[in-house]
Symmetry: C2
Subunit: 155 residues, 2 copies
């Protein structure tokens, strides 16, 4: 059975608007291992417009951000010899996000995000992501993720 | 009268989910000149959660993105000796976005984005943005904006 990494976040940190199962308002992005990479898929709503016909950049940044935190959890577990989905996943947050918008991203098609690990350390993971619309990479991301600090934990 | 730069985008490019008046679903961010800088304000909904109590990074990236495109239009008009609000604004799109998440951004308070021009050229503007929650800068952005290419114009 394929289990999205976000579905194994502990309950108290599973409310992200972008990717968590306990946020009914949000995008509920799901990220899976895919060989040595990771993959998420998402079809924007038609109102997620930049200018007519194209996806607005904020959504693209948001998808790359959440895909990267999920990917960091997957890559970290794999580096520790753990199977993603087999136990609660570590919760990473984003320290830095870079997005290059290479071409306009068309609305009305499923987007596919493919992530690769650039660096996996004890508390820090760097992930690069290609965002595909069909066969074309329309945006590329690089994110620095760190394990969620205790200062963000629920009181 | 204070006119937001986004309210002077031409009708055919005023549908952005993040910042445009013709998108009833979206955030409708409004950006204004503020001395030599620019300013936007936005209060996230309580469901724009990262982990409980904090704003998710995708919204922060989205606000910085749209604040930057609006700021680029303001800075470009000012560089040409035009008064922002006095005529239709040039429509910039984002080529590159960088966000440093310096501290968790609390939910439940109004956020304030303050932009400054780093570079203003014929077709390209670079904007740096500080995002304030109260008195604290919790995120910092740098965006490279270019005039919207004709390939994105409505057919």
């Amino acid at each position: 059975m394929r289990i999205a990494i976000q579905d194994t976040y502990p309950d108290d940190v599973a409310h992200c608007y972008g990717c968590s199962r306990l946020n009914p308002h949000g995008y509920q992005l799901k990220t899976y291992p895919a060989g040595e990479q990771t993959e998420s898929r998402f079809t924007p709503e038609l109102y997620h417009t930049a200018v007519p016909g194209f996806v607005y950049g904020g959504l693209i940044a948001s998808l790359i951000d959440c895909h990267s935190t999920g990917s960091a959890a997957i890559f970290k577990m794999q580096a520790e010899g753990k199977e993603p989905g087999s136990e609660e996943a570590p919760r990473f947050v984003t320290a830095r996000l870079e997005v290059d918008f290479l071409a306009p991203t068309p609305l009305g098609v499923e987007l596919r995000l493919v992530g690769r690990a650039v660096e996996v350390k004890e508390r820090k993971v760097v992930v690069e992501t290609d965002l595909y619309a069909g066969q074309k990479v329309t945006a590329r991301g690089r994110a620095v993720l760190v394990l969620m600090p205790q200062t963000m934990a629920a009181k």
